[in-house]
Protein backbone atom coordinates (compact mmCIF):
# COMPACT_ATOMS: atom_id res chain seq x y z
CA UNK A 1 0.00 0.00 0.00
CA UNK A 2 1.56 3.25 -1.01
CA UNK A 3 0.30 6.63 0.13
CA UNK A 4 1.35 9.88 -1.43
CA UNK A 5 2.40 12.36 1.09
CA UNK A 6 1.27 15.85 0.34
CA UNK A 7 0.60 18.50 -2.13
CA UNK A 8 4.03 19.70 -2.97
CA UNK A 9 5.62 16.37 -3.55
CA UNK A 10 5.24 14.04 -6.46
CA UNK A 11 1.91 12.37 -6.92
CA UNK A 12 3.50 9.56 -8.80
CA UNK A 13 1.02 9.49 -11.64
CA UNK A 14 2.67 10.97 -14.67
CA UNK A 15 1.09 10.37 -18.01
CA UNK A 16 2.94 8.69 -20.82
CA UNK A 17 3.42 12.07 -22.46
CA UNK A 18 5.32 13.24 -19.41
CA UNK A 19 2.72 15.67 -18.14
CA UNK A 20 1.33 15.32 -14.67
CA UNK A 21 -2.08 16.62 -13.78
CA UNK A 22 -2.66 18.42 -10.49
CA UNK A 23 -6.26 18.34 -9.41
CA UNK A 24 -8.00 19.82 -6.39
CA UNK A 25 -11.69 19.35 -5.81
CA UNK A 26 -14.19 21.72 -4.30
CA UNK A 27 -17.23 19.81 -3.12
CA UNK A 28 -20.54 21.07 -1.86
CA UNK A 29 -22.73 18.82 0.26
CA UNK A 30 -26.33 19.88 0.83
CA UNK A 31 -27.25 19.01 4.41
CA UNK A 32 -30.41 17.11 5.25
CA UNK A 33 -31.43 19.35 8.14
CA UNK A 34 -35.15 20.01 8.50
CA UNK A 35 -34.78 23.76 8.16
CA UNK A 36 -32.57 26.19 6.32
CA UNK A 37 -29.22 27.49 7.45
CA UNK A 38 -30.37 30.86 8.75
CA UNK A 39 -34.17 30.72 8.95
CA UNK A 40 -36.93 28.34 9.93
CA UNK A 41 -38.21 27.55 6.45
CA UNK A 42 -38.46 23.82 5.85
CA UNK A 43 -35.97 22.29 3.46
CA UNK A 44 -38.07 20.44 0.96
CA UNK A 45 -38.01 19.54 -2.74
CA UNK A 46 -40.44 19.58 -5.58
CA UNK A 47 -42.70 22.27 -4.16
CA UNK A 48 -44.34 25.02 -6.22
CA UNK A 49 -41.92 27.92 -6.61
CA UNK A 50 -41.47 30.39 -3.76
CA UNK A 51 -43.58 28.48 -1.27
CA UNK A 52 -40.72 27.52 1.07
CA UNK A 53 -39.53 31.05 1.69
CA UNK A 54 -39.81 33.78 4.29
CA UNK A 55 -38.62 37.38 4.54
CA UNK A 56 -35.22 36.17 5.75
CA UNK A 57 -34.34 33.83 2.91
CA UNK A 58 -35.94 36.23 0.44
CA UNK A 59 -33.56 38.94 1.58
CA UNK A 60 -36.22 41.47 2.50
CA UNK A 61 -35.14 44.75 4.07
CA UNK A 62 -34.35 44.52 7.76
CA UNK A 63 -34.15 40.75 8.08
CA UNK A 64 -31.45 38.96 10.04
CA UNK A 65 -29.95 35.44 9.97
CA UNK A 66 -30.09 33.00 12.90
CA UNK A 67 -27.78 29.98 12.75
CA UNK A 68 -29.20 26.43 12.66
CA UNK A 69 -27.55 24.38 15.42
CA UNK A 70 -28.07 21.11 13.53
CA UNK A 71 -26.09 22.45 10.60
CA UNK A 72 -23.19 23.17 12.95
CA UNK A 73 -23.41 19.63 14.29
CA UNK A 74 -23.59 18.05 10.84
CA UNK A 75 -20.66 20.10 9.59
CA UNK A 76 -18.67 19.07 12.66
CA UNK A 77 -19.47 15.42 11.91
CA UNK A 78 -18.17 15.80 8.38
CA UNK A 79 -15.04 17.59 9.53
CA UNK A 80 -14.31 14.93 12.16
CA UNK A 81 -14.91 12.09 9.71
CA UNK A 82 -12.32 13.72 7.48
CA UNK A 83 -9.91 13.93 10.38
CA UNK A 84 -9.96 17.73 10.46
CA UNK A 85 -9.12 19.88 13.42
CA UNK A 86 -12.23 21.68 14.63
CA UNK A 87 -11.66 25.42 15.06
CA UNK A 88 -12.13 26.63 18.62
CA UNK A 89 -13.61 29.83 17.27
CA UNK A 90 -15.28 29.97 13.89
CA UNK A 91 -17.07 32.94 12.31
CA UNK A 92 -19.18 33.68 9.29
CA UNK A 93 -18.22 36.11 6.56
CA UNK A 94 -20.16 37.93 3.88
CA UNK A 95 -19.16 37.02 0.33
CA UNK A 96 -20.39 39.90 -1.80
CA UNK A 97 -21.52 39.61 -5.42
CA UNK A 98 -24.61 40.29 -7.53
CA UNK A 99 -26.64 37.46 -9.05
CA UNK A 100 -30.41 36.95 -9.22
CA UNK A 101 -30.36 33.74 -7.18
CA UNK A 102 -28.57 35.52 -4.32
CA UNK A 103 -31.24 37.62 -2.60
CA UNK A 104 -29.11 39.65 -0.23
CA UNK A 105 -26.43 40.42 -2.80
CA UNK A 106 -24.08 38.51 -0.54
CA UNK A 107 -23.81 34.92 0.57
CA UNK A 108 -23.20 34.19 4.23
CA UNK A 109 -20.22 31.85 4.12
CA UNK A 110 -16.94 31.33 5.92
CA UNK A 111 -13.56 32.75 5.01
CA UNK A 112 -10.45 32.74 7.15
CA UNK A 113 -11.82 31.02 10.26
CA UNK A 114 -13.63 27.95 8.86
CA UNK A 115 -15.11 25.25 11.03
CA UNK A 116 -12.68 22.47 10.10
CA UNK A 117 -9.11 22.47 8.83
CA UNK A 118 -6.33 20.16 7.87
CA UNK A 119 -7.75 16.65 7.41
CA UNK A 120 -7.41 13.88 4.85
CA UNK A 121 -9.24 11.08 3.11
CA UNK A 122 -7.48 7.88 2.10
CA UNK A 123 -8.74 6.66 -1.24
CA UNK A 124 -8.34 3.03 -2.18
CA UNK A 125 -7.88 2.64 -5.89
CA UNK A 126 -8.89 -0.46 -7.83
CA UNK A 127 -5.29 -1.50 -8.28
CA UNK A 128 -4.90 -1.65 -4.52
CA UNK A 129 -2.96 1.58 -4.27
CA UNK A 130 -4.05 4.04 -1.58
CA UNK A 131 -3.93 7.73 -2.36
CA UNK A 132 -4.05 10.09 0.62
CA UNK A 133 -5.84 13.27 -0.37
CA UNK A 134 -5.47 16.16 2.03
CA UNK A 135 -8.50 18.18 3.05
CA UNK A 136 -7.71 21.88 3.28
CA UNK A 137 -10.91 23.00 4.92
CA UNK A 138 -14.52 22.27 5.73
CA UNK A 139 -16.92 25.17 6.11
CA UNK A 140 -20.60 26.12 6.20
CA UNK A 141 -22.52 28.40 3.88
CA UNK A 142 -26.00 28.97 2.51
CA UNK A 143 -27.23 27.77 -0.87
CA UNK A 144 -28.54 30.09 -3.57
CA UNK A 145 -31.95 29.91 -5.19
CA UNK A 146 -32.69 28.20 -8.48
CA UNK A 147 -32.47 29.96 -11.82
CA UNK A 148 -34.32 28.70 -14.86
CA UNK A 149 -33.51 30.24 -18.19
CA UNK A 150 -36.51 30.84 -20.38
CA UNK A 151 -37.38 32.02 -23.81
CA UNK A 152 -34.55 30.37 -25.67
CA UNK A 153 -34.53 26.96 -27.29
CA UNK A 154 -32.05 25.07 -25.16
CA UNK A 155 -32.92 26.09 -21.60
CA UNK A 156 -29.35 27.27 -21.22
CA UNK A 157 -28.22 30.69 -20.28
CA UNK A 158 -26.98 31.71 -23.76
CA UNK A 159 -29.87 32.44 -26.01
CA UNK A 160 -32.33 32.82 -23.16
CA UNK A 161 -34.53 35.90 -23.30
CA UNK A 162 -35.04 36.05 -19.61
CA UNK A 163 -34.70 33.97 -16.48
CA UNK A 164 -36.96 32.94 -13.64
CA UNK A 165 -35.93 32.65 -10.01
CA UNK A 166 -37.31 30.31 -7.39
CA UNK A 167 -35.92 30.83 -3.89
CA UNK A 168 -37.16 27.59 -2.30
CA UNK A 169 -33.65 26.19 -2.32
CA UNK A 170 -32.12 29.47 -1.24
CA UNK A 171 -30.75 29.31 2.29
CA UNK A 172 -30.37 25.51 2.43
CA UNK A 173 -27.27 24.63 4.46
CA UNK A 174 -24.22 23.61 2.45
CA UNK A 175 -20.95 22.24 3.64
CA UNK A 176 -18.04 23.07 1.39
CA UNK A 177 -15.13 20.64 1.40
CA UNK A 178 -11.91 21.70 -0.29
CA UNK A 179 -9.26 19.15 -1.07
CA UNK A 180 -5.57 19.78 -1.38
CA UNK A 181 -4.32 19.44 -4.97
CA UNK A 182 -3.25 15.86 -4.19
CA UNK A 183 -5.21 14.22 -6.98
CA UNK A 184 -3.38 13.33 -10.16
CA UNK A 185 -5.82 11.58 -12.46
CA UNK A 186 -9.50 11.62 -13.37
CA UNK A 187 -9.73 8.09 -11.97
CA UNK A 188 -8.38 9.25 -8.63
CA UNK A 189 -10.79 12.17 -8.66
CA UNK A 190 -13.75 9.93 -9.26
CA UNK A 191 -12.60 7.47 -6.63
CA UNK A 192 -12.07 10.29 -4.14
CA UNK A 193 -15.51 11.73 -4.74
CA UNK A 194 -17.05 8.28 -4.40
CA UNK A 195 -15.24 7.59 -1.14
CA UNK A 196 -16.30 10.98 0.14
CA UNK A 197 -19.87 10.31 -0.86
CA UNK A 198 -19.89 6.98 0.95
CA UNK A 199 -18.36 8.55 4.03
CA UNK A 200 -20.84 11.40 4.19
CA UNK A 201 -23.71 9.02 3.56
CA UNK A 202 -22.63 7.03 6.58
CA UNK A 203 -22.86 10.15 8.71
CA UNK A 204 -26.54 10.52 7.92
CA UNK A 205 -26.17 14.24 7.19
CA UNK A 206 -26.96 14.38 3.48
CA UNK A 207 -28.41 12.41 0.59
CA UNK A 208 -25.20 13.12 -1.32
CA UNK A 209 -26.85 12.48 -4.65
CA UNK A 210 -25.13 14.16 -7.58
CA UNK A 211 -28.10 13.86 -9.91
CA UNK A 212 -30.35 15.56 -7.37
CA UNK A 213 -27.82 18.25 -6.56
CA UNK A 214 -27.15 17.33 -2.97
CA UNK A 215 -23.57 16.57 -3.96
CA UNK A 216 -21.77 19.01 -6.25
CA UNK A 217 -18.22 19.07 -7.42
CA UNK A 218 -16.01 21.62 -9.14
CA UNK A 219 -12.36 21.08 -9.89
CA UNK A 220 -9.20 23.13 -10.05
CA UNK A 221 -6.92 21.71 -12.73
CA UNK A 222 -3.38 22.41 -13.79
CA UNK A 223 -0.60 20.41 -15.39
CA UNK A 224 3.15 20.36 -14.99
CA UNK A 225 6.23 18.26 -15.56
CA UNK A 226 6.92 16.20 -12.42
CA UNK A 227 8.99 18.15 -9.94
CA UNK A 228 8.19 21.50 -11.53
CA UNK A 229 6.22 24.10 -9.60
CA UNK A 230 2.48 24.16 -10.10
CA UNK A 231 1.20 25.41 -13.42
CA UNK A 232 -1.60 27.91 -13.90
CA UNK A 233 -4.84 26.40 -12.79
CA UNK A 234 -8.30 26.70 -14.24
CA UNK A 235 -11.59 26.21 -12.48
CA UNK A 236 -13.75 23.53 -14.06
CA UNK A 237 -17.49 23.64 -13.44
CA UNK A 238 -20.81 22.06 -14.36
CA UNK A 239 -20.04 18.38 -13.91
CA UNK A 240 -23.10 16.90 -12.31
CA UNK A 241 -22.40 13.20 -12.39
CA UNK A 242 -19.41 10.98 -11.68
CA UNK A 243 -19.14 10.19 -15.35
CA UNK A 244 -19.13 13.85 -16.30
CA UNK A 245 -16.57 14.61 -13.62
CA UNK A 246 -14.27 12.06 -15.21
CA UNK A 247 -14.91 13.22 -18.75
CA UNK A 248 -14.63 16.87 -17.82
CA UNK A 249 -11.28 16.36 -16.15
CA UNK A 250 -10.00 14.34 -19.07
CA UNK A 251 -11.11 17.00 -21.50
CA UNK A 252 -9.62 19.87 -19.52
CA UNK A 253 -6.31 18.09 -18.99
CA UNK A 254 -6.14 17.41 -22.74
CA UNK A 255 -6.96 21.01 -23.49
CA UNK A 256 -4.18 22.26 -21.26
CA UNK A 257 -1.70 19.73 -22.67
CA UNK A 258 -2.54 20.84 -26.19
CA UNK A 259 -2.15 24.48 -25.24
CA UNK A 260 1.22 24.01 -23.64
CA UNK A 261 2.46 21.62 -26.28
CA UNK A 262 1.64 24.17 -28.96
CA UNK A 263 3.53 26.88 -27.12
CA UNK A 264 0.49 28.71 -25.73
CA UNK A 265 -0.01 29.49 -22.10
CA UNK A 266 -2.79 28.32 -19.87
CA UNK A 267 -4.97 31.25 -18.86
CA UNK A 268 -6.42 31.38 -15.37
CA UNK A 269 -10.14 31.23 -16.01
CA UNK A 270 -13.34 29.38 -15.38
CA UNK A 271 -13.97 26.53 -17.78
CA UNK A 272 -17.37 25.08 -18.41
CA UNK A 273 -18.07 21.42 -19.10
CA UNK A 274 -20.76 20.74 -21.68
CA UNK A 275 -22.38 17.35 -21.05
CA UNK A 276 -23.92 17.29 -24.50
CA UNK A 277 -20.59 17.45 -26.31
CA UNK A 278 -18.19 16.27 -23.62
CA UNK A 279 -16.13 19.36 -24.34
CA UNK A 280 -14.90 22.13 -22.14
CA UNK A 281 -14.96 25.78 -23.06
CA UNK A 282 -13.95 28.93 -21.30
CA UNK A 283 -16.69 31.21 -20.05
CA UNK A 284 -15.84 34.37 -21.87
CA UNK A 285 -18.13 36.71 -19.98
CA UNK A 286 -18.31 40.44 -19.46
CA UNK A 287 -17.69 39.88 -15.78
CA UNK A 288 -14.30 40.62 -14.37
CA UNK A 289 -12.76 38.33 -11.83
CA UNK A 290 -14.91 38.44 -8.75
CA UNK A 291 -13.77 40.65 -5.91
CA UNK A 292 -15.84 39.19 -3.09
CA UNK A 293 -14.88 41.87 -0.54
CA UNK A 294 -15.14 39.41 2.34
CA UNK A 295 -15.73 40.84 5.79
CA UNK A 296 -16.92 39.25 9.05
CA UNK A 297 -20.70 38.90 9.24
CA UNK A 298 -21.72 41.49 11.85
CA UNK A 299 -25.17 39.96 12.34
CA UNK A 300 -23.83 36.62 13.60
CA UNK A 301 -21.70 36.22 16.74
CA UNK A 302 -18.81 33.76 16.61
CA UNK A 303 -19.38 30.06 17.19
CA UNK A 304 -17.06 28.54 19.76
CA UNK A 305 -16.98 24.77 19.87
CA UNK A 306 -15.28 23.54 22.98
CA UNK A 307 -13.60 20.20 23.50
CA UNK A 308 -16.67 18.78 25.25
CA UNK A 309 -18.87 19.55 22.26
CA UNK A 310 -16.42 18.09 19.80
CA UNK A 311 -16.10 14.94 21.92
CA UNK A 312 -19.86 14.60 22.08
CA UNK A 313 -20.15 14.78 18.32
CA UNK A 314 -17.18 12.50 17.81
CA UNK A 315 -18.44 9.81 20.14
CA UNK A 316 -21.82 9.85 18.44
CA UNK A 317 -20.27 9.20 15.05
CA UNK A 318 -21.19 5.85 13.55
CA UNK A 319 -18.40 3.44 12.66
CA UNK A 320 -16.98 4.84 9.46
CA UNK A 321 -16.17 2.77 6.36
CA UNK A 322 -12.39 2.63 6.78
CA UNK A 323 -12.70 1.42 10.36
CA UNK A 324 -15.52 -0.94 9.53
CA UNK A 325 -13.58 -2.44 6.65
CA UNK A 326 -10.65 -3.20 8.89
CA UNK A 327 -12.83 -4.64 11.61
CA UNK A 328 -14.76 -6.89 9.24
CA UNK A 329 -11.53 -8.30 7.88
CA UNK A 330 -10.22 -8.96 11.35
CA UNK A 331 -13.39 -10.06 13.05
CA UNK A 332 -14.82 -12.24 10.31
CA UNK A 333 -11.79 -13.17 8.30
CA UNK A 334 -13.33 -11.98 5.05
CA UNK A 335 -11.22 -10.85 2.09
CA UNK A 336 -10.62 -7.12 1.59
CA UNK A 337 -12.87 -6.82 -1.42
CA UNK A 338 -15.87 -8.28 0.37
CA UNK A 339 -15.11 -6.24 3.46
CA UNK A 340 -15.09 -3.06 1.38
CA UNK A 341 -18.45 -3.83 -0.19
CA UNK A 342 -19.97 -4.51 3.20
CA UNK A 343 -18.37 -1.50 4.87
CA UNK A 344 -19.23 1.00 2.18
CA UNK A 345 -22.91 0.15 2.21
CA UNK A 346 -23.97 0.71 5.76
CA UNK A 347 -27.38 -1.03 5.69
CA UNK A 348 -25.86 -3.98 3.85
CA UNK A 349 -23.05 -4.26 6.37
CA UNK A 350 -25.53 -4.06 9.22
CA UNK A 351 -27.58 -6.79 7.60
CA UNK A 352 -24.56 -9.01 7.17
CA UNK A 353 -23.50 -8.59 10.77
CA UNK A 354 -27.00 -9.36 12.03
CA UNK A 355 -27.16 -12.56 10.02
CA UNK A 356 -23.73 -13.62 11.18
CA UNK A 357 -24.61 -12.91 14.78
CA UNK A 358 -27.45 -15.40 14.44
CA UNK A 359 -25.77 -18.10 12.42
CA UNK A 360 -22.16 -17.75 13.50
CA UNK A 361 -21.08 -18.42 9.90
CA UNK A 362 -19.66 -15.24 8.40
CA UNK A 363 -18.50 -16.76 5.12
CA UNK A 364 -21.90 -18.13 4.20
CA UNK A 365 -23.62 -14.99 5.33
CA UNK A 366 -21.26 -12.88 3.23
CA UNK A 367 -21.81 -15.02 0.17
CA UNK A 368 -25.55 -14.74 0.48
CA UNK A 369 -25.58 -11.02 1.32
CA UNK A 370 -23.18 -10.11 -1.46
CA UNK A 371 -24.74 -12.60 -3.88
CA UNK A 372 -28.44 -13.34 -4.01
CA UNK A 373 -29.48 -10.66 -1.55
CA UNK A 374 -27.62 -7.85 -3.30
CA UNK A 375 -28.90 -9.02 -6.66
CA UNK A 376 -32.42 -8.87 -5.33
CA UNK A 377 -31.94 -5.44 -3.75
CA UNK A 378 -30.44 -3.99 -6.92
CA UNK A 379 -33.26 -5.36 -9.05
CA UNK A 380 -35.90 -4.12 -6.65
CA UNK A 381 -34.10 -0.81 -6.15
CA UNK A 382 -34.32 -0.87 -2.35
CA UNK A 383 -31.72 -0.62 0.38
CA UNK A 384 -31.07 -3.49 2.75
CA UNK A 385 -33.15 -1.80 5.41
CA UNK A 386 -36.22 -2.19 3.21
CA UNK A 387 -35.64 -5.80 2.21
CA UNK A 388 -38.74 -7.96 2.66
CA UNK A 389 -36.48 -10.73 3.90
CA UNK A 390 -35.17 -9.58 7.27
CA UNK A 391 -31.75 -10.54 8.56
CA UNK A 392 -33.41 -12.85 11.06
CA UNK A 393 -35.42 -14.51 8.32
CA UNK A 394 -32.33 -15.09 6.20
CA UNK A 395 -30.50 -16.40 9.22
CA UNK A 396 -33.34 -18.86 9.82
CA UNK A 397 -33.15 -20.02 6.24
CA UNK A 398 -29.43 -20.52 6.45
CA UNK A 399 -30.04 -22.52 9.58
CA UNK A 400 -32.28 -24.86 7.62
CA UNK A 401 -29.56 -25.35 5.05
CA UNK A 402 -27.07 -26.01 7.75
CA UNK A 403 -29.12 -28.63 9.51
CA UNK A 404 -29.91 -30.37 6.26
CA UNK A 405 -33.57 -29.53 6.03
CA UNK A 406 -32.99 -27.51 2.93
CA UNK A 407 -30.48 -28.15 0.20
CA UNK A 408 -28.23 -25.40 -0.92
CA UNK A 409 -29.68 -25.58 -4.40
CA UNK A 410 -33.23 -25.20 -3.19
CA UNK A 411 -32.27 -22.36 -0.95
CA UNK A 412 -32.17 -19.93 -3.86
CA UNK A 413 -35.76 -20.70 -4.78
CA UNK A 414 -36.81 -20.53 -1.18
CA UNK A 415 -35.18 -17.12 -0.83
CA UNK A 416 -37.00 -15.81 -3.87
CA UNK A 417 -40.30 -17.12 -2.52
CA UNK A 418 -39.59 -15.50 0.86
CA UNK A 419 -38.86 -12.18 -0.83
CA UNK A 420 -42.02 -12.17 -2.87
CA UNK A 421 -44.39 -13.50 -0.23
CA UNK A 422 -42.77 -12.16 2.93
CA UNK A 423 -43.18 -15.59 4.51
CA UNK A 424 -40.59 -17.29 6.66
CA UNK A 425 -38.26 -20.00 5.43
CA UNK A 426 -39.88 -22.86 7.27
CA UNK A 427 -43.33 -21.88 6.00
CA UNK A 428 -42.18 -21.70 2.41
CA UNK A 429 -40.37 -25.02 2.62
CA UNK A 430 -43.36 -26.76 4.12
CA UNK A 431 -45.87 -25.20 1.79
CA UNK A 432 -43.90 -26.01 -1.29
CA UNK A 433 -42.61 -29.32 -0.11
CA UNK A 434 -39.14 -28.17 -0.81
CA UNK A 435 -37.58 -29.89 2.12
CA UNK A 436 -34.35 -31.58 1.40
CA UNK A 437 -34.45 -35.29 1.34
CA UNK A 438 -31.71 -36.42 3.64
CA UNK A 439 -33.21 -39.67 4.74
CA UNK A 440 -30.89 -42.40 3.48
CA UNK A 441 -33.70 -44.85 3.43
CA UNK A 442 -35.74 -42.76 1.11
CA UNK A 443 -32.86 -42.07 -1.16
CA UNK A 444 -31.48 -45.57 -1.18
CA UNK A 445 -34.17 -46.89 -3.41
CA UNK A 446 -33.65 -44.15 -5.95
CA UNK A 447 -29.90 -44.54 -5.90
CA UNK A 448 -30.12 -48.23 -6.34
CA UNK A 449 -32.48 -47.92 -9.27
CA UNK A 450 -30.26 -45.41 -11.05
CA UNK A 451 -27.10 -47.38 -10.55
CA UNK A 452 -28.83 -50.45 -11.90
CA UNK A 453 -30.15 -48.55 -14.89
CA UNK A 454 -26.72 -47.33 -15.88
CA UNK A 455 -24.31 -50.25 -15.91
CA UNK A 456 -21.94 -48.61 -18.37
CA UNK A 457 -21.13 -45.54 -16.34
CA UNK A 458 -21.15 -47.70 -13.21
CA UNK A 459 -18.40 -49.82 -14.69
CA UNK A 460 -16.43 -46.73 -15.71
CA UNK A 461 -16.56 -45.50 -12.14
CA UNK A 462 -15.27 -48.83 -10.85
CA UNK A 463 -12.51 -48.61 -13.35
CA UNK A 464 -11.35 -45.46 -11.55
CA UNK A 465 -13.13 -42.71 -13.48
CA UNK A 466 -14.15 -40.81 -10.41
CA UNK A 467 -15.64 -38.00 -12.40
CA UNK A 468 -18.51 -40.18 -13.56
CA UNK A 469 -19.95 -39.82 -10.10
CA UNK A 470 -21.17 -36.43 -11.14
CA UNK A 471 -23.37 -38.02 -13.79
CA UNK A 472 -25.03 -40.23 -11.20
CA UNK A 473 -25.48 -37.33 -8.76
CA UNK A 474 -27.12 -35.37 -11.54
CA UNK A 475 -29.50 -38.20 -12.28
CA UNK A 476 -30.50 -38.52 -8.66
CA UNK A 477 -31.06 -34.78 -8.43
CA UNK A 478 -33.20 -34.87 -11.55
CA UNK A 479 -35.28 -37.66 -10.11
CA UNK A 480 -35.72 -35.83 -6.78
CA UNK A 481 -36.20 -32.41 -8.34
CA UNK A 482 -33.02 -31.21 -6.70
CA UNK A 483 -34.19 -31.95 -3.22
CA UNK A 484 -31.83 -34.76 -2.44
CA UNK A 485 -29.12 -34.01 0.05
CA UNK A 486 -26.01 -34.15 -2.11
CA UNK A 487 -23.75 -35.45 0.66
CA UNK A 488 -26.03 -38.34 1.46
CA UNK A 489 -26.46 -39.06 -2.26
CA UNK A 490 -22.70 -39.05 -2.68
CA UNK A 491 -22.18 -41.54 0.12
CA UNK A 492 -24.98 -43.81 -1.04
CA UNK A 493 -23.75 -43.78 -4.63
CA UNK A 494 -20.24 -44.70 -3.63
CA UNK A 495 -21.59 -47.53 -1.53
CA UNK A 496 -23.79 -48.89 -4.28
CA UNK A 497 -21.27 -48.45 -7.04
CA UNK A 498 -18.65 -50.29 -5.04
CA UNK A 499 -21.15 -52.87 -3.91
CA UNK A 500 -22.52 -53.77 -7.22
CA UNK A 501 -19.21 -54.72 -8.50
CA UNK A 502 -18.48 -58.21 -9.06
Amino acid sequence: MSANSGSASSHGASRPDGWEAVIGLEIHVQLSTRTKMFCGCEVSFGDPPNTRVCPVCLGHPGVLPVTNEKAIEYATRIALALDCRIAERTIFHRKNYFYPDLPKGYQISQYDLPLGIGGHLDVEMEDGETVRVGITRVHLEEDAGKLVHAGGTTGRIDGADYSLVDFNRGGTPLVEIVSEPDISTPDQARAFLNQLRILVQHLGVSDVNMEEGSLRCDANVSIRRPGDPFGTKTELKNMNSFRFLHRGLEAEIERQVESLDSGERVVQETVHFDPATGMVSSLRSKEEAHDYRYFPEPDLPPVELDAAYVERVRSALPELPPARRARIIEQYGLPAKDAALLADNRPLGDYFEAVTASTGDARTAANWVLGDLSAYLNAAGVPATECPVSAEALAEMLGLVRDGTLSGKMAKEVFEAMASTGKGARTVVDEKGMGQISDAGELEAIVARIVEANPGPAEEFRQGRDRVLGFFVGQVMKETKGQANPQVVNELLREHLSDSGG
Binding site: R34, T35, E42, T51, E69, V148, L164, P298
Partner: protein, 93 residues
Protein backbone atom coordinates in the same frame (compact mmCIF):
# COMPACT_ATOMS: atom_id res chain seq x y z
CA UNK B 1 -7.11 60.94 -3.90
CA UNK B 2 -8.87 58.43 -6.08
CA UNK B 3 -8.32 57.98 -9.77
CA UNK B 4 -11.02 58.01 -12.41
CA UNK B 5 -10.30 54.37 -13.22
CA UNK B 6 -10.71 53.39 -9.60
CA UNK B 7 -14.02 55.23 -9.37
CA UNK B 8 -15.27 53.44 -12.47
CA UNK B 9 -14.05 50.08 -11.19
CA UNK B 10 -15.73 50.55 -7.82
CA UNK B 11 -18.92 51.71 -9.52
CA UNK B 12 -18.98 48.50 -11.55
CA UNK B 13 -18.51 46.41 -8.42
CA UNK B 14 -21.39 48.27 -6.79
CA UNK B 15 -23.61 48.15 -9.88
CA UNK B 16 -23.86 51.92 -10.09
CA UNK B 17 -23.53 54.26 -13.04
CA UNK B 18 -22.58 57.90 -12.96
CA UNK B 19 -22.89 60.46 -15.74
CA UNK B 20 -19.90 62.57 -16.70
CA UNK B 21 -21.34 65.41 -14.67
CA UNK B 22 -21.85 63.21 -11.66
CA UNK B 23 -18.37 61.76 -11.95
CA UNK B 24 -16.86 65.22 -12.11
CA UNK B 25 -18.43 65.98 -8.74
CA UNK B 26 -18.09 62.54 -7.23
CA UNK B 27 -14.43 61.93 -7.86
CA UNK B 28 -13.17 64.88 -5.77
CA UNK B 29 -15.79 64.22 -3.09
CA UNK B 30 -14.69 60.64 -2.73
CA UNK B 31 -11.09 61.74 -2.84
CA UNK B 32 -11.66 64.15 0.00
CA UNK B 33 -13.41 61.57 2.14
CA UNK B 34 -10.81 58.91 1.43
CA UNK B 35 -8.01 61.30 2.28
CA UNK B 36 -9.77 62.09 5.53
CA UNK B 37 -10.25 58.47 6.57
CA UNK B 38 -6.76 57.66 5.41
CA UNK B 39 -5.47 59.27 8.62
CA UNK B 40 -6.13 55.96 10.32
CA UNK B 41 -3.49 54.28 8.21
CA UNK B 42 -0.88 56.36 10.04
CA UNK B 43 -1.78 54.91 13.40
CA UNK B 44 0.25 52.06 14.78
CA UNK B 45 -2.48 49.76 15.99
CA UNK B 46 -0.62 46.53 15.46
CA UNK B 47 -1.14 45.47 19.05
CA UNK B 48 -4.88 45.77 18.84
CA UNK B 49 -7.47 43.26 17.79
CA UNK B 50 -10.20 44.15 15.35
CA UNK B 51 -13.66 44.61 16.81
CA UNK B 52 -15.60 42.61 14.27
CA UNK B 53 -18.62 42.09 16.50
CA UNK B 54 -20.25 44.75 18.65
CA UNK B 55 -21.50 42.46 21.41
CA UNK B 56 -19.57 39.85 23.35
CA UNK B 57 -21.95 37.07 22.41
CA UNK B 58 -21.18 33.62 21.09
CA UNK B 59 -23.02 30.47 20.06
CA UNK B 60 -26.33 32.12 19.36
CA UNK B 61 -28.11 29.23 17.70
CA UNK B 62 -31.59 28.10 16.92
CA UNK B 63 -33.16 24.63 16.99
CA UNK B 64 -33.75 22.85 13.71
CA UNK B 65 -37.52 23.23 14.02
CA UNK B 66 -39.65 24.46 11.10
CA UNK B 67 -41.53 27.74 11.18
CA UNK B 68 -44.29 28.89 8.89
CA UNK B 69 -43.22 30.08 5.45
CA UNK B 70 -44.92 32.74 3.35
CA UNK B 71 -47.47 31.77 0.75
CA UNK B 72 -46.43 32.16 -2.86
CA UNK B 73 -48.67 35.21 -3.12
CA UNK B 74 -47.11 36.88 -0.10
CA UNK B 75 -43.62 36.03 -1.33
CA UNK B 76 -44.12 37.43 -4.83
CA UNK B 77 -46.53 40.24 -4.07
CA UNK B 78 -43.85 42.92 -4.11
CA UNK B 79 -42.12 41.52 -7.19
CA UNK B 80 -41.73 43.98 -10.06
CA UNK B 81 -42.07 41.09 -12.51
CA UNK B 82 -43.45 37.69 -11.67
CA UNK B 83 -44.28 34.76 -13.93
CA UNK B 84 -45.71 31.42 -12.80
CA UNK B 85 -44.78 32.13 -9.22
CA UNK B 86 -41.18 32.99 -10.04
CA UNK B 87 -39.34 36.30 -10.19
CA UNK B 88 -38.51 37.38 -13.71
CA UNK B 89 -35.12 38.86 -14.50
CA UNK B 90 -33.83 40.04 -17.87
CA UNK B 91 -31.45 37.82 -19.78
CA UNK B 92 -28.25 37.29 -17.96
CA UNK B 93 -26.22 37.42 -21.13
Amino acid sequence: MISREEVEHVARLARLHFSEEELARLQPELGQIIDYVHQLAELDLSGLEVTSHAVALKNVLRSDVPEASLTQEEATRNGPAVERGQFVVPRIG
